[in-house]
Every structure is written in C-alpha cells, then in structure tokens.
Symmetry: C2
Subunit: 140 residues, 2 copies
C-alpha cells in the first residue's frame, strides 16, 4: 500500500511527532538526520507538503524547498568539517519512502565513496542524437 499523508513516516516527522533529529524546519521544508546514515550528518530534506517525487512538486514550492536544500548543503560541511557534499534524490526507483526527500551527505576526499561507482557507457554512433531528440520532444 503506498504511503499517504496519514501513514507516511516523513509526514509524521513534518507533523512534529519526533523532533529529536530535526535540524531545520520552516513553512516549506523539514530537514532531519537519516537514521541509517552513509556518514554521520547525512540529512534528509523533505517538503512539508506530501508529494511523491520531484516532478510532483508544485512549481511554486520549488524555490522555498531548494533554498533549504542549498542551506543544508552549506551547513553540513561547515558543521562537520567535511569538504563537500553528495546531494541526491531517488525518484520512484530505489526510493524507499514515497515522500520526496533529498539526501545531503557530507563528503571528504578519501572517505571511500565515489560520486559514481557505476560503469559508465558510451553512445553508439548516432545514438546520442536520437536520444537527445526524444528528450527534446518530451520537453516541447
């Protein structure tokens, strides 16, 4: 059963049911520690309004939500002395909770992680042009 506002664990945090790990909240977004962090200080930023994925976010909510993501991505390295961050969203696939959440993970060189760990591929001749055309048409 997909989570709804009444069963969604992130809506429960938004509603104030557990403030322990909340690091920031305003009208648009709530930020809290992921309980199973990749590294200590791994924060999740969620919109107050329950939407499942990034495409579902109301256009009017994009600015206030991502301004919080931006602030968290500045504050986490400052707070923890890390060098950078990995900021990521899984939409649908690999998305554990169907309430949009942006991971902000502190990163430091030599931490053993990689920005991408997957084998990169190459386009066959002509393939890139075809793929680009399909995306352009979907945007038109």
């Amino acid at each position: 059963m997909p989570a709804t506002r009444s069963t969604c664990p992130f809506c429960a945090i938004v509603a104030g049911e557990d403030e322990t790990d909340v690091v920031y909240r305003d009208e648009a977004a709530v930020a809290f520690l992921d309980r199973r962090p990749l590294f200590p200080g791994h924060v999740l930023v969620v919109p107050v309004r329950h939407v499942e994925t990034l495409p579902d976010l109301d256009t009017a909510d994009v600015a206030p939500f991502f301004i919080v993501v931006q602030r968290i991505s500045a504050a986490v390295p400052e707070a923890l002395g890390s060098q950078g961050t990995f900021v990521a969203v899984n939409n649908v696939v690999s998305q554990s909770v169907p309430h949009l959440h942006v991971h902000v993970v502190p990163r430091t060189k030599g931490d053993g992680l990689r920005g991408f760990f997957w084998p990169r591929t190459k386009y066959a001749p002509g393939e890139a042009a075809s793929v680009a055309d399909r995306i352009r048409r979907a945007l038109a």
Copy 2:
C-alpha cells in the same frame, strides 16, 4: 588550475559552442547529454552563470534553475520509457568539472544500479544528538 569562465567546458556549452547534445536551454539553465552516461539519456543540467557548487548558486537563481531540473526529471523518463530517475550533485568531492551540474539519470527497476550502494552505518548512543546540534548551530 581551477576552471574559470574562460576555460570551463560547461561554460563553452552554455555559450553555444556545441549544440549537438543540448536538449534544453533558457535564461537560467542549459541541459545536455553526458557523453559518458550511466545510461543513455543521462542529462547534465548546469546554470548559465558559472558557479562551482550548489551553495554558490545565487538564491535568486535557485527557482529558475531547479524548475529546469524538475522539468528534465519528468521529461527523461517520458522520453525513454524509464520508470524513474536518479538526480544527483557532487559538491567539491567527486566533482569532475567545477561548474555546478545536476545529473539526471533514467532508472528502471532491475537496471542493476542502486540508489545507494554504500554500507550504511549507525549512530552510537548520543552521537546523533551531538551531530544534529552541530548542524543546527551552523544553520543558526
């Protein structure tokens, strides 16, 4: 030598030096195919204005930039028949080009990737509270 506006490969694409793989452009952002995709249709979205990382993005540019990211994250699965997307930014660490770029990667269940592939850890007793306090102070 860090890339500047004059040497930055993404600024060159923004300037229109190679339109081949550009799928979208407006006043705020340009979106183009990553030449070494994780999967075909892997798009990079960059702000027109050269900034290095997400925290460097002018607050006024957050909305127009992320509205484009949102549009691309809807268009890519629609264009390619994928089920979802992985949307990610490497800030500083693992960042190959020092011009902010958001990866939008098409995802389909069973594609062999994971949202996160790294061993997750746990907080020791009291550690989460301490980490949360440090982030709150950095935000204050």
